[in-house]
């Protein structure tokens, strides 16, 4: 078993395959894996050469063998994988090994596709493609699975899960970092380490992209973060191009010398990638074999990650933004009920802009499918923010679904000291990885004293250990009880915080604002308690970053405690703030709302509207000021005196005013009039949605209720939604000739199932003729045309009258 030797003695991988095959006559664009069948002897011989050069592990010739990348009519994928394993095993039997044991690693490379939402590959489809190959490789007798050259953490996660769930083989993983220590999709070293350790791979490291020397800084970072055996497989230097041909120029001796250095620093498995040959491997094994392994120190870092970055606890306090949560928030509840995902995403983006480090995500509401919404919100948030997320739910199904599709190592909120809770949550953490919040309450409730809360924390940590979950992956929430009913509440919490940090050595979180429940002026209490909590060891506060008082406490605490070097963050936030605010409000009074909107001055429009709403009815402001301003800009756009960016700046400005008026309407109990619904979607296969988004902003401005279904939307889903919402108008966009086909199909289905519904279309490749051909009712050559058409469709409505008045 390779696992008996892993991390105890130095092991050697083989070197490059592609370069050798090209020398044997592999054509550009030809699938190297077909050679397993067409030129079996060549493949077997390359393996033999590597084994005789000293490789202990050989990689099968299956790098691109997955259903998404490998399309060949002459041979089946199963056959390719099966023969690949046989060739490696045959080579091991043929080669002179001097009695060394040789392991066959099933080589798994990327699919060559990007996952949703940035690309069009479903996470589960990627998973299935990997799973198929892995089952096949395991059946054929592979000794381990080596997932390599991965440049996207999301695809990597699909591959590792597939390996774990479809086979019982050891899993090795290497990713491709650039010189800045980043993956192509943005992840840094700790983010990759966090993800892979969470998924419990057996060894991890780096391959391809760089030569041995350039890999050193990245390798050193891996050493700093991981507690697992490290694999290093460089290219024979940085790729160089002459006349369009790639070549590598680090010679075997030089390669071997650097690899020796890498081993002495702590690598456990070494080999080569592109451009390396049996000669490179021979030189390397000759000068490295028998070197003792440097023991890997257990790292005690509490770390969460997203696709693009990691957040490590310690060094000051972290902010976990609490805004994505319906509790006590009417507007958020409404967004959830109306499936207004954009609203939720904006809450995420704004919290990031305000300084949050991690975002809590809670979408629990009776009457909604929490699992489905949780998955959708997590997926969408991942495409607009690189902050790690905290999955917050009491529903085990929703928790597992979110953990599965989460791109990184998440926070999880939460487990408690109740046996039932631990029985449910810990197996999930064991499987998917993550940092879980342990609430110090159990079957008997929330203990009154600090000692008792620490005891519950201790119980949680002990139980987690049974699942192999380490202390560093648990953070404790000692719970804040409101001082309005628990006079000693704050004191107990602060004491418990201190004890947990000092006695148990784990990090802490706290939902800070509970402390003031039932009291007036809550921010006063909250922000002061927040400072006290940080002083007593609060590693991360779950707070509202919109609250200026809380942020003041945060910045002041870090400046005061020398956790903000040279008070840099404090200064950049608070220098010059007061004068800016004054400027904005003083200039506002002299301008009319119409001018502010026409010029696209958001701040001014906001202040003017706030003033106006005190004196005038919201509907009058809309009809007399907002709509005329928008019409003026819209006409200018038509006449070619106003251009798209200006049109949109005005639209965004008007939106700010509308928001104030809507609030005011809601407060006075008046219902806004019932709005006309329009569905917008970018058709199936199309991932370019900027045009649709432009139309959306304008339609919303003109008072339509836009149901935005997003991009790459199947005809069936659009039809179903149109039927369900009984809409009269659907707007479709497509960018390419290849996707207009889906547009045509969507129209066909709409005609059949929702006969009364009008369809307007737009997009770069369309024109009137094309639109007629696919049976659309209207072709919008620009965004304003779509607005005018929508108004015609709903003619007779108040809105149209308003516009004409």
């Amino acid at each position: 078993m390779i696992l008996d030797r892993l991390g105890k003695e130095l092991l050697f991988f083989d070197g490059g395959m592609g370069t050798l095959l090209q020398a044997e006559g592999l054509k550009p664009g030809e699938l190297p894996e077909t050679w397993n069948i067409m030129h079996a002897d060549v493949i077997t011989d390359i393996h033999r050469q590597y084994i005789e050069s000293g490789s202990d592990i050989v990689l099968t010739n299956t790098f691109g063998a997955n259903a998404l990348k490998f399309h060949d009519e002459t041979c089946s994928l199963q056959e390719i994988v099966r023969t690949a394993v046989i060739h490696a095993k045959t080579a091991a039997a043929l080669a002179e090994t001097g009695g060394r044991e040789i392991y066959t690693a099933l080589d798994v490379g990327p699919t060559g596709k990007l996952l949703r939402p940035m690309g069009d590959l479903d996470f589960e489809d990627a998973y299935e493609a990997f799973g198929e190959v892995m089952r096949c490789g395991a059946e054929a007798g592979a000794d381990l699975i080596h997932i390599e050259t991965m440049s996207d953490t999301y695809e990597l996660k699909a591959a590792v899960l597939a390996a774990k769930e479809n086979t019982s083989l050891p899993v090795f993983v290497t990713t491709i970092f650039d010189e800045r220590g980043k993956l192509l999709t943005g992840a840094d070293v700790p983010a990759v380490v966090a993800l892979l350790e969470g998924l419990r791979v057996d060894a991890l490291g780096i391959n391809c992209g760089l030569g041995p020397v350039q890999m050193l800084p990245v390798f050193e970072q891996i050493l700093q973060y991981t507690s697992l055996p490290i694999i290093v497989k460089p290219n024979a230097g940085l790729p160089k191009q002459v006349r369009g041909e790639t070549y590598y120029d680090v010679l075997p001796r030089e390669f071997a010398a650097t690899m020796r250095e890498i081993v002495s620093q702590g690598a456990a498995i070494v080999g080569g990638c592109c451009g390396t040959t049996p000669e490179h491997i021979r030189e390397m094994t000759e000068i490295c074999r028998g070197m003792p392994l440097k023991p890997i120190a257990e790292k005690n870092i509490t770390m969460v990650s997203s696709y693009g970055q990691s957040v490590c606890f310690g060094q000051g306090s972290k902010i976990i933004g609490e805004r994505i949560n319906p509790t006590g928030k009417k507007r958020f509840k409404q967004a959830l009920k109306e499936h207004d995902i954009d609203y939720i995403l904006k809450e995420g983006i704004t919290q990031q802009d305000l300084g949050a480090h991690i975002l809590d995500v809670n979408v629990g509401l009776p009457d909604i499918d929490e699992t489905a919404v949780m998955v959708e919100v997590v997926e969408e948030l991942q495409s607009v923010t690189n902050l790690p997320l905290q999955i917050d739910t009491v529903d085990a199904k929703a928790m597992e679904a979110a953990l599965r599709i989460y791109n990184g190592k998440p926070m999880v909120n939460s487990v408690s000291g109740k046996q039932e809770s631990m029985d449910v949550v810990f197996p999930l953490m064991q499987k998917y990885g993550g940092v879980v919040i342990g609430l110090t309450l159990d079957e008997t409730g929330i203990p009154k004293t600090a000692e008792e809360r620490v005891a519950v924390a201790r119980k949680i940590i002990k139980e987690a250990k049974k699942y192999g979950i380490q202390k560093k992956d648990i953070v404790i929430d000692v719970l804040a009880m409101t001082i309005s009913s628990e006079p000693e509440g704050a004191k107990v919490t602060l004491e418990a915080l201190k004890k947990v940090r000092e006695e148990l050595g784990v990090h802490t979180v706290l939902g800070v604002s509970n402390i003031s429940f039932g009291l007036p002026g809550r921010p006063v209490i909250n922000s002061n308690f927040y400072t006290m909590a940080m002083l007593n060891g609060l590693s991360a506060g779950i707070i509202n970053p919109f609250s200026e008082e809380m942020m003041k406490s945060f910045y002041a605490y870090h400046a005061l405690m020398n956790l903000d070097s040279n008070c840099e963050k404090y200064i950049s936030r608070y220098a010059g703030i007061s004068s800016a605010v004054q400027d904005a409000s003083s200039g506002a009074s002299k301008m009319s709302l119409k001018t502010a909107i026409e010029k696209g001055l958001k701040e001014e429009a906001y202040h003017i509207t706030s003033d106006m709403v005190k004196k005038q009815a919201p509907l009058d402001i809309i009809n007399e000021h907002l709509i005329p301003a928008l019409d003026y800009v819209g006409k200018g756009f038509e006449q070619g005196t106003v251009f798209l960016p200006q049109l949109l700046v005005s639209a965004e400005t008007a939106k700010a005013s509308f928001a104030i008026l809507k609030d005011s309407l809601a407060k006075s109990g008046g219902q806004g009039e019932k709005k006309d619904k329009v569905i917008l979607a970018t058709v199936k296969g199309d991932i370019h949605d900027i045009g649709k988004n432009i139309v959306k902003v304008l339609l919303e401005n003109y008072g339509f209720d836009v149901i935005d279904m997003g991009k790459d939307v199947a005809p069936e889903r659009i039809t179903e939604k149109a039927k369900e919402e009984n809409v009269q108008l659907v707007g479709l966009s497509a960018l390419m000739t290849t996707t207009v086909v889906s547009m045509e199909e969507t129209i066909r289905q709409l005609r059949k199932s929702v006969p009364g519904c009008q369809v307007m279309v737009g997009g770069a490749v369309l024109n009137q003729e094309y639109a007629d051909m696919i049976g659309a009712d209207f072709y919008g050559k620009d965004a304003m045309q779509s607005v005018y058409y929508a108004q015609r469709v709903f003619k007779g409505d108040k809105k149209e009258k308003m516009r004409l008045s």
């Binding site: 054509k27 550009p28 664009g29 030809e30 490379g109 990327p110 060559g112 596709k113 990007l114 940035m118 690309g119 069009d120 050259t149 440049s151 980043k182 192509l184 999709t185 943005g186 191009q241 002459v242 006349r243 369009g244 041909e245 954009d342 995403l345 904006k346 983006i349 704004t350 495409s383 607009v384 923010t385 690189n386 010029k599 696209g600 070619g640 005196t641 251009f643 798209l644 960016p645 200006q646 949109l648 700046v649 639209a651 965004e652 296969g685 199309d686 991932i687 370019h688 949605d689 900027i690 988004n693 432009i694 902003v697 960018l735 390419m736 000739t737 290849t738 996707t739 889906s742």
Partner: protein, 216 residues
């Protein structure tokens, strides 16, 4: 005003009109953001080119049928396959802006397109310099989707260049590139120096296009 800014303004539909200060500020802001978000990468390979009868050209084993491309490549005996991308960070940046500020999103989109073109030009200049000592001169870039050069050939180009692994450029099932701000193209190389080195826009047959460079 630099070329990239001018091109961005053209993509935004300003034509000959002067651009307003607010938009100009958005543009310079966008280029700053893009500078941070972009992870520019490119790849190229050079092949022998065989021009057959019936508008067929042959690059190694790959067969391509296109009248327009054949015209573009007339007299060439070498062909450069080319791929370039601004990286996925740009897509994320634009997506984020679409939620918070649509005007910014539209400007970012135009600036990214201008940045990509400029980057491709830079790459092409470098390739051209490299080939000059061999007495080879480059033609204008020609991409799948231009004229009758079918978009489906994008798959062939990307496979021959190994774009996904080398520069992180992938394609959806409907031949859209992801990252979206990416280019694949072929560039002919011939021993004779072509007199006019027209860039893509002017050579397009859609003469009523609102964004066309030579009529605005």
């Amino acid at each position: 005003m630099d070329t990239m800014t001018k091109e961005a303004i053209r993509y935004l539909g300003y034509g000959k009109h002067a651009v307003d200060d607010h938009t100009l500020a958005l543009i310079s802001d966008s280029f700053l953001n893009l500078g941070t978000a972009a992870g520019r990468k490119f790849i190229y390979r050079i092949f022998d080119l065989k021009q057959m009868a019936d508008d067929k050209i042959l690059i190694e084993t790959a067969e391509i049928y296109s009248k327009n491309l054949r015209k573009n490549l007339k007299g060439c005996n070498k062909i450069v396959l080319f791929g370039a991308t601004l990286g996925i960070g740009v897509d994320r940046l634009i997506r984020r802006a679409s939620l918070t500020d649509m005007a910014k999103a539209v400007v970012l989109q135009a600036c990214a397109a201008a940045m990509l073109e400029e980057y491709c030009d830079e790459c092409q200049d470098n390739i051209g310099r490299e080939l000059k000592p061999q007495g080879l001169y480059l033609r204008p870039r020609f991409s799948p989707g231009y004229g009758d050069f079918d978009i489906q050939y994008q798959a062939v180009l990307m496979q021959m260049l190994d774009c996904a692994k080398k520069i992180g450029l992938t394609m959806t099932d409907s031949f859209m590139m992801s990252p979206t701000k990416s280019v694949t193209a072929v560039i002919g190389a011939s021993a004779a120096k072509e007199k006019c080195h027209i860039k893509g826009c002017e050579s397009c047959s859609k003469e009523d296009c609102a964004y066309r460079r030579d009529t605005i």
